[in-house]
Structures are given as structure tokens and as C-alpha cells.
């Protein structure tokens, strides 16, 4: 379980997150939705210890992200909004191996895991390709492979559909759903479009750094959406 307890955070003077209390249970598919600048990315980065609270706590399976960066980070994978900047090596299979090298796994197991991961995401054909030559959708799958290979319990996707065309959007959403259902990975999907909520069990709406709504998706109504500035245009 990932838990934010009375979480406050500020980059400069002003608080960007203002007293967030949420619990994300294992196995579920949670969407965090909010308008631009509502603090979604800032919140998501707390789950991965990339940011730590100014006040309050974030716990990943009971581990305080402030106290044990490494262990909490190992449990939570992160696919960035700018996933292109997430790829470190030029050759796909080497990039996927990067995190595994950091974990100091043995060479043979790294090789095998890289292969299996690429296979799982159906991008084995990209193994030897140069990431600079891939399409955006493919780059995103490689970024995901690099995260998935490390076998995290949770994966955060920060606006995974924003940069993609309709076909790639559907594809990545399908892959995310599969990870949740088949591989039992807890999904935290950060988004600002209502379309992306289709597979979510639960929705958390952020507005100006506070939780405006937290509950089942089917209980959402237009009034709340309007209030969050998320109504369909």
C-alpha cells in the first residue's frame, strides 16, 4: 500500500500540495486526474522518493520514503511524462538493462530478464535498435520495459497518452490494463483527460494541490468534474 499522510510540499514559497491524505491499495488501478498545474506530477514523484514531503509522510508498504529511498524506490516504477528523457542508452536492450545493472544482478539473469521483458511487451524486434530512431509510441514502450524489467509492485504512469496519437493511446492503455490484470501490478495513472479513466477502478481528483474527490469511478458526477475544471468540452 502507498500512503500519503497529511502531505504538504512546496518547491519555493507556496505550497503545491496542501494536506493530501490518500491510500492506494495493492492490485488496484487508480487514476489521479486534475487540470494542468494541479500538482499531479509533484504528488506522483513523492511515491518514487524523487521528492520528499515538506511536511507529513509518504509510506510505501510501510517504508517511509524519506528514510529509505532505495527500498521504496525499488517497489515503485515510474514512466515519466517526457519518457524520451528517460532512456539513457542508445541501444534498446542496453537501456532496458540499465536498472538491472544498478541492482547488481548477475549478467546472465540480466540478459534473460531483458529478453523476457521485451517479449512480454511484444517489442522483441526492437532489441538492437537505436532509440533515437524509434517512434514516440515505441520509445514509450522501451521506457516502460526499462521500468517493468526491475519487477516493481507499483508503476506510476505520468500522462502516458498526452504525446501520442489515437492508435498509440489505445495501445498503451491496453498494455497498462494488462499489467494490472495479468501481472497484478498496482497502477497509478496520472492524467488530465477523462478518456484515460476507462480502466480505472478508483479516481482521485486533484485541484490546486488538494484532493477534491477520492472514490469509485462510477460515483463521479458532472458537478464534481466541473468543479475540478475537467468537464468535457
Amino acid at each position: 500500500m502507498i500512503e500519503a499522510k497529511n502531505l504538504y510540499f512546496k518547491y519555493d514559497e507556496e505550497f503545491v500540495l496542501k494536506g493530501i491524505n490518500i491510500k492506494i491499495k495493492e492490485g488496484c488501478f487508480t487514476a489521479i486526474i486534475g487540470a494542468n498545474g494541479s500538482g499531479k506530477t509533484t504528488l506522483a514523484k513523492h511515491f518514487n522518493s524523487l521528492l520528499t514531503p515538506t511536511k507529513g509522510n509518504v509510506l510505501v508498504d510501510g517504508i517511509d520514503t524519506r528514510k529509505d529511498e532505495f527500498d521504496s524506490r525499488k517497489k515503485v516504477g515510474f514512466v515519466f511524462q517526457n519518457f524520451e528523457d528517460q532512456l539513457i542508452h542508445s541501444i534498446v536492450e542496453e537501456d532496458v538493462a540499465f536498472g538491472l545493472e544498478n541492482l547488481e544482478w548477475s549478467n546472465n539473469i540480466i540478459k534473460k530478464t531483458v529478453e523476457q521483458t521485451l517479449d512480454k511487451l511484444k517489442i522483441k524486434n526492437l532489441a538492437k535498435r537505436n532509440v533515437n530512431m524509434l517512434s514516440l509510441g515505441q520509445k514509450q514502450m522501451v521506457a516502460l520495459a526499462g521500468v517493468l524489467a526491475m519487477n516493481p509492485m507499483y508503476i506510476v504512469f505520468d500522462e502516458p497518452t498526452t504525446m501520442l496519437d489515437a492508435k498509440n493511446k489505445n495501445n498503451i492503455m491496453g498494455v497498462i490494463r494488462d499489467l494490472n490484470i495479468k501481472n497484478k501490478i498496482t497502477i497509478i495513472l496520472v492524467t488530465n483527460v477523462l478518456d484515460d479513466l476507462k480502466y480505472a477502478d478508483r479516481v482521485i481528483i486533484l485541484k490546486d494541490g488538494s484532493v477534491l474527490y477520492d472514490g469509485k469511478k462510477y460515483k463521479l458526477n458532472k458537478r464534481i468534474m466541473d468543479k475540478a475544471g475537467l468537464n468535457d468540452k
Binding site: E101, N107, V147
Partner: protein, 238 residues
């Protein structure tokens, strides 16, 4: 052009030179580079040249491509020659030798990058630097730095090109100093943003400066034979 940037000169071929352990290849290039500078006799230099060309042929390098890749340096060679002609005509021989040595260095590095992928080279550098760990230098940091440079330079150039086009589309004029400043600043801003994302990404992927590349490099009988050939060559010519 972009293709060249991404892949360097590497060309996937099935030759003995391609198969030699990249660590050894790096060492050979280094050793031979030092060696050519100790050679003074013409006969030695001639044999050296033949040896290097033989290796180039064994790597299935097309001579036409090789000459093409050296083209940027021709002007420099001509310039050096002219300098010798003007200022120290009596040392012209010396000048030709200097240029010749330089040419050998260029051909050897061409052979190296033609037969070895950049990522193998980076991994080899990392492995070769392992002993530096006792001086608290982390080979992983250096290797990852090189990899990131190779990965992001083409991306940066592409981004710069996009920025340039979008400014041109809005009638920017790059003879105008203000516009040059503007494109530089925007490019820098983008670069810093990418760098900050990258550093986040490395942290989130648990970057560990004590880790090692997972590439397995083990010397095979081929490698030992190559070692023997190079050693014998150096000893005989010397």
C-alpha cells in the same frame, strides 16, 4: 547525416577483426599509436602501413569509404605540407613522416569504430578502467556519461533544428543578433529541462555508481591469437 550521427562508422560484418574483444582492440590501437611515434626508419613505417592496411582489408572496409572519411583532414595535410615547404624546406621529410603518422592514427581509429559498436566500446572502456577504482574513480560514472552524451547529442541537434525551423516559420532572421540569442536561450532552456528529467530518471532507476555493465567479455582463442600477432609484429619491426 543523422544516420551517421547515430551509428558512427560501425558496420555489421562477419570478420575476425569484428570479433576481437573490444577491450583488446582499444589496447591495440593505443599501443600501435604509441609505437608509430617511436618508428623513425622508413622501412619500419612502410611495414607498419602495410600492416594497418592489411587489418583494414581483413575488416572488409571499402577503401573508397575510408578515403572519403579522411576527406576532412586533407586540407590540414596540405596546409602542414605548405608550412614545411615555406618555413623548413630541409625538414620536409620530417614533415611527411609526421603527416603519415597522423594518417595512420586516423586509419586505426576508423578501423576501430568500423568494427566495434559504440556501446561495446563504452563497455570496454568501463571494464578497462576498473583498476582505477583504487583511486576512487568510478568507471561506471565515466561510462554512463559517455553513453548519455552519445544518446543525447543527436537528440539535441534534432531539437535545435526543430527550434530553428519554428523560428524561421515565424520569420526569424538568424543574421539578427537578438534572434541568435533567442534561439540559444531556448535551446539551453530545453537542454536543462531534459537534463533535469534525465537526472530524475536515473535516480528512479536506482542509479548505482558501483554497478557494472552486464556485457560479458571473455577472451577467446581468437583474442589470444590476435594478441600474439600484434606482439610479434611490434617486436619484429622494433
Amino acid at each position: 547525416m543523422i544516420n551517421k550521427l547515430y551509428f558512427g562508422q560501425y558496420s555489421h560484418k562477419d570478420t575476425i577483426v569484428h570479433k576481437i574483444d573490444p577491450r583488446l582492440k582499444l589496447i591495440y590501437v593505443f599501443a600501435l599509436s604509441v609505437f608509430i611515434f617511436t618508428l623513425n626508419k622508413y622501412l619500419g613505417i612502410l611495414f607498419f602501413t602495410l600492416f594497418v592496411l592489411l587489418i583494414a582489408i581483413a575488416s572488409k572496409i571499402s577503401m573508397k569509404k575510408l578515403l572519403q572519411s579522411l576527406r576532412p583532414f586533407y586540407l590540414m595535410f596540405v596546409f602542414l605540407l605548405v608550412m614545411y615547404l615555406i618555413f623548413s624546406r630541409n625538414q620536409l621529410n620530417q614533415g611527411i613522416v609526421v603527416i603519415w603518422r597522423f594518417l595512420m592514427l586516423l586509419i586505426m581509429s576508423y578501423v576501430l569504430t568500423y568494427t566495434t559498436t559504440t556501446s561495446d566500446l563504452v563497455a570496454a572502456i568501463e571494464k578497462l578502467m576498473k583498476p582505477l577504482k583504487i583511486f576512487n574513480i568510478k568507471p561506471r560514472n565515466i561510462a554512463v556519461m559517455i553513453s548519455i552524451t552519445i544518446r543525447f547529442i543527436p537528440a539535441m541537434l534534432l531539437q535545435f533544428e526543430r527550434l530553428r525551423e519554428s523560428m524561421l516559420a515565424r520569420l526569424a532572421n538568424f543574421r539578427n543578433l537578438r534572434h541568435i540569442k533567442l534561439i540559444m536561450l531556448s535551446a539551453l532552456e530545453k537542454m536543462f529541462k531534459s537534463a533535469s528529467n534525465l537526472s530524475d530518471a536515473m535516480q528512479s532507476r536506482l542509479y548505482n555508481e558501483n554497478a557494472e555493465s552486464h556485457k560479458i567479455m571473455r577472451l577467446s582463442s581468437n583474442d589470444y591469437i590476435s594478441l600474439l600477432i600484434i606482439a610479434v609484429f611490434i617486436l619484429v619491426i622494433y
